[in-house]
Symmetry: C2
Subunit: 385 residues, 2 copies
């Protein structure tokens, strides 16, 4: 493996009843804002638990964070926090709410012009408003990392940032609250977590057996537990396993000392930006296409993945790689997640637009060994028409 | 899985050359004490790297921390730190040096009488002198946790404590420095890390597939990489994998939401206390004995371990469990680590003394489901005469 640094100070509290500890986790006397999304916290009981635990705190509420959270909505929260001199944020919901909260937390004290520069110019984030999270949807892993992805409606852009000051102080993970999720969101979460793992695993071997086996552990668990949760979101044990898998998939651990790819995400983000397709569903389209296109370059890892994750023990290396790609695509489809552009009514002209955008941005060589070029991007998407 | 909390704020810097970052990791102007053991840091180049990186720092040195570090030696360092108003500790060496440093760091500001009470009475540790570590010996995992074990010569006691203020601020892991270790210490490290995993894994199933597979990942890696490092400690890649395995084995991750045992350690500590046998070697004796004694109670996990870690796919459950125990014992012996009391000249009277001590301390029901009693302790040790 390569040299690396690992640091993750997020305190995780996992399972039923942990919300009662909120009033110990948030410093006494804090002026708190509760940030949430479309209102699921009113249905799954989380809102009531929060109110009950934070009795006596000065609590402001800000709802309406959308899936693919926007700069525009986030800036409204920034305004309120500045106005009311709020000094602690509590995010309750899924990955979008937490991602928005990270941007909001960094934007409030930002004094170098428009906070959008944090995303567009990697402007330095020196500090952030401290915040904690209550996670009710297993998917993105944002509850235990310093990453965030924000969209800007006015420019059809979707950009990411990753800085130490936006590590959550704590994250409470609630598999029971996730039990009320619609099937579609559960499926998205499974696929999202799965592709997070492949982005850090399916590159080339560097003799890092712990990292490889941890990654395989997460994928095998998602393959085993995913269908159970998809069939019955209120299966508490299976949802617990899905939730912990999704957190482990992107908390920095499995990427220690190994190469990453992340170009499936880069391409997928454009499908969301142009067509509003759910993030996870864009990944389910792009991943198999990119693997088919880069099969030779990624073969060693594809074969290892076929053998260890899918139990494919016979056939040539080429056949094993093909089988692994096919099984992955079938797995996604079994969760009701389409893996073809046609499943979403997207046609060839979108491929042209994405390729042109990458060329315009001079994104000419991305991901694992720079293998994702405008040309391989086109081929990957054409495989999935 | 059960509800759990996980928190580990240790910053890990892994691999060659990371020592050059010391002067950024330790706050400028700190008055630093370097704590080390028997002097290996002078042979493996670590001392020179430290001196070079910490040029300009006020640096005191304190060597001579022994294997199974003692209260007596540690208190000498406490005295110096108090006298010289030192405010940062740097530990360089193996697990013993780091464990001693944790006790020293907690003892310096302790003002409730004799700091031994931290171990003997679980006296509260409110604060500790901040410290960082340079690890040159993969084994105990102490570099990324809040645990420490200290021996007291005068009373032949060996006790543990675990408190948040003694998390290292950072740990630099140096597989290259570990390349100069004698084979015997490498073997001890492999066995120590392996048994740390089994203490958190080999209990009973609680439907925690991520934790189980992570544990299995570490054990399989130790079985594969251990013999390579044992044969050639300066195999940098294999040593890197051993070192990361040992850290992952005891940083709190694989114990999230699952039951633990730790009675192999409790029994093993007495063998060290009475006979000075290396910690890891005591574990290699006790583990197979305890598994033989509690085979029925632990059978579900023994079978899973046999199948997934050792690839034992045929035979009855009982045969699989037997095979797993036998293979474990053979693995330890292949590293030159004796698994029988007779390998160390220990006779039956020691068993009587240990059982009596447990009875005197009212340790009548320890570990996994309280299965380790004076009676099963006796049987476990008798299996290994």
């Amino acid at each position: 493996m390569k040299e690396f640094e690992f640091y993750n100070p997020v305190k995780v509290l996992f399972g039923k009843g942990q919300v009662t500890k909120l009033n110990e986790l948030i410093p006494a006397g804090s002026r708190v804002i509760l940030i949430y999304g479309g209102g699921s916290i009113f249905k799954n009981g989380v809102y009531d638990s929060i109110k009950s635990s934070l009795k006596g705190f000065d609590l402001t509420e800000f709802g309406g964070i959308e899936p693919n959270p926007t700069y525009e909505t986030s800036m409204k929260a920034v305004e309120i926090i500045r106005q009311k001199k709020i000094n602690y944020i509590l995010a309750a919901g899924g990955g979008s709410v937490i991602d928005a909260t990270k941007f909001i937390a960094a934007a409030v004290p930002f004094n170098d012009g428009d906070p959008w520069k944090i995303l567009s110019e990697e402007a330095e984030v020196k500090e952030a408003v401290p915040f904690g999270c209550i996670l009710t949807l297993p998917a993105t892993g944002t509850e235990m990392n310093k990453n965030s992805v924000i969209s800007r409606k006015s420019t059809e852009e979707k950009l990411a940032f990753s800085v130490t000051p936006v590590f959550p102080k704590f994250s409470i993970l609630l598999p029971d609250a996730a039990g009320t999720l619609p099937q579609k969101q559960v499926a998205n979460g499974i696929v999202d977590a799965f592709v997070h793992v492949t982005e850090q695993y399916l590159t080339y071997p560097v003799n890092a057996p712990i990292q490889d086996r941890f990654a395989e552990a997460i994928m095998i668990t998602l393959i085993e537990e995913g269908p159970k949760v998809y069939a019955k979101p209120d299966d508490y044990e299976a949802m617990s396993n899905l939730m912990w898998s999704a957190t482990m998939a992107l908390n920095g651990l499995i990427s220690c000392g190994v190469p990453g790819d992340w170009s499936v995400h880069s391409i997928g983000h454009e499908l969301t930006a142009f067509h509003g397709i759910d993030h996870a569903r864009t990944l389910a389209i792009v991943l198999p296409g990119l693997w088919k296109t880069l099969k030779e370059e990624k073969k060693a890892k594809l074969v290892q993945y076929a053998e260890r994750v899918w139990g494919v023990k016979t056939g040539s290396d080429d056949e094993k790689a093909d089988a692994a790609i096919e099984k992955t695509e079938k797995f996604f489809r079994s969760l009701g997640v389409g893996t073809r552009l046609s499943d979403y009514g997207v046609k060839k002209d979108t491929i042209d637009r994405i390729v042109k955008r990458f060329e315009d941005r001079k994104w000419l060589s991305m991901g694992d060994r720079g293998l994702t070029t405008p040309d391989t991007t086109r081929k990957a998407l054409e495989c999935q028409l």
